[in-house]
Amino acid sequence: MFLARLVAATAPDEPLLPLSVENLTFEAGGTRLLDNVSLTLGQGMRTVVMGPNGAGKSLLLRLCHGLLRPTRGRVRWALDDGEAVRRRQAFVFQRPVLLRRSTLANVTFALAHAGVTLRCRRDRAMEALERVGLGHLAGRPARLLSGGEQQRVALARAWAIRPDVLFLDEATANLDPSATRTIEGIVQAMHEAGVKIVLTTHDLGQARRLADEIVFLHKGRLVEHRPAAAFFERPRSEQARAFLDGRLME
């Protein structure tokens, strides 16, 4: 088991992507929250999942990441090893959940559970913290950092495990514009380092700034999946047009 982890963590050569979502349906309490969604996400592009409240954006990310089990349908990665698949993704939540310990320890904790040997953890964690500009706060209790700093710790934690795919679920929704820009810069840097980015956002500006392609959901259904430029210029569906015009908020 432990050996398998090590192998998975140290042999990232086989590609994880593309990710295929097939007829994905999720129901809770008799309500269908995600309805027969099928799509394929490839390497390289930053995918932004958009849609009004209740469209199923967060749900889609959680199902892809394996936090939830679909009622029907499946999530398929190019790689067929469940353990390796999980280890090569990271997820940043709207509200970062940091442990009651130092900033550095939050990152090394993630590394420990990703099977990184004790000797390598500290250096890798420091490197990730430097990348998000928090190297000088490594010794601080993580819970005492500001909201924006906490989200950067969450990003450092994600980055440290060197994922192939990073999911971000409304990662800047609670942050001020300046903190948001910092986060976007880090996401951009991760993208340039070759990490596949999949994020949800309410913020149209952010979507325009970051998206290479748009997945537009409405009431649990996939409505459009197109290159970002084309989507913003000529949305095909009435729902997308309404959404972009600010007429469709639910």
């Binding site: 280890r87 959940v97 009651r100 310990r101 990703a114 819970r143 005492l144």
Partner: protein, 234 residues
Amino acid sequence: MTELGRAAAAALDLILSGDAELAGIVGLSLQVSLSAVLIAALVAMPAGALLAVLRFPGRGLLVVLLNALMGLPPVVVGLLVYLALSRAGPLGSWGLLFTPTAMIVAQAILVTPIIAALTRQTVADLQEEYREQLASLGVRPLAAVPALLWDARFSLLTALLAGLGRAVAEVGAVIIVGGNIAGVTRVMTTAIALETSKGDLPLALGLGMVLVALAVAINATAFGAQGLLRRVQG
């Protein structure tokens, strides 16, 4: 002077006179109850946390049982421990009856369900908050237990205090397994019981006030430490 007034005077007199016997009794009370809570915590905290994170058949029943055992009567615990440690009992050859060790055992048994039940609730609440993040990091439920316990440390202090409060205040268990032997197994509560049986109510109440003052001091210290640590550690 009223009975309460005499009691307060007796309490004050006891404390101010620096009575060596009283100091011994207070010291033994603290030693026995703190040891019992420490031992109970070593068992109860991991057990409570496991009960919070693991899902298995019969878990609900176990939770109900654990919560019910918080109301375990001290006398019953004392009797069970007596029967075990008595020379006529299975562990009689250890010769532990009427020793502080026997009292620690009885109180540890008494407070284990309390600490375990409160730990379970605290950890369950925290786990709800951490569940998705830990799952995302690939932390399995069992592996999450130490992290959850550590992160719940400020709240768990309250569970320890609840256990300590129960231990230091109970008389039923320690009087049976300790025997209330002067200078050997006499603690605050058994001393109070003894003075009551002598009809010396002011002295009994005075001892009670000393006990309450001690409890207040311990809880105030813990409260202060808790606040300080929260500010420093987040």
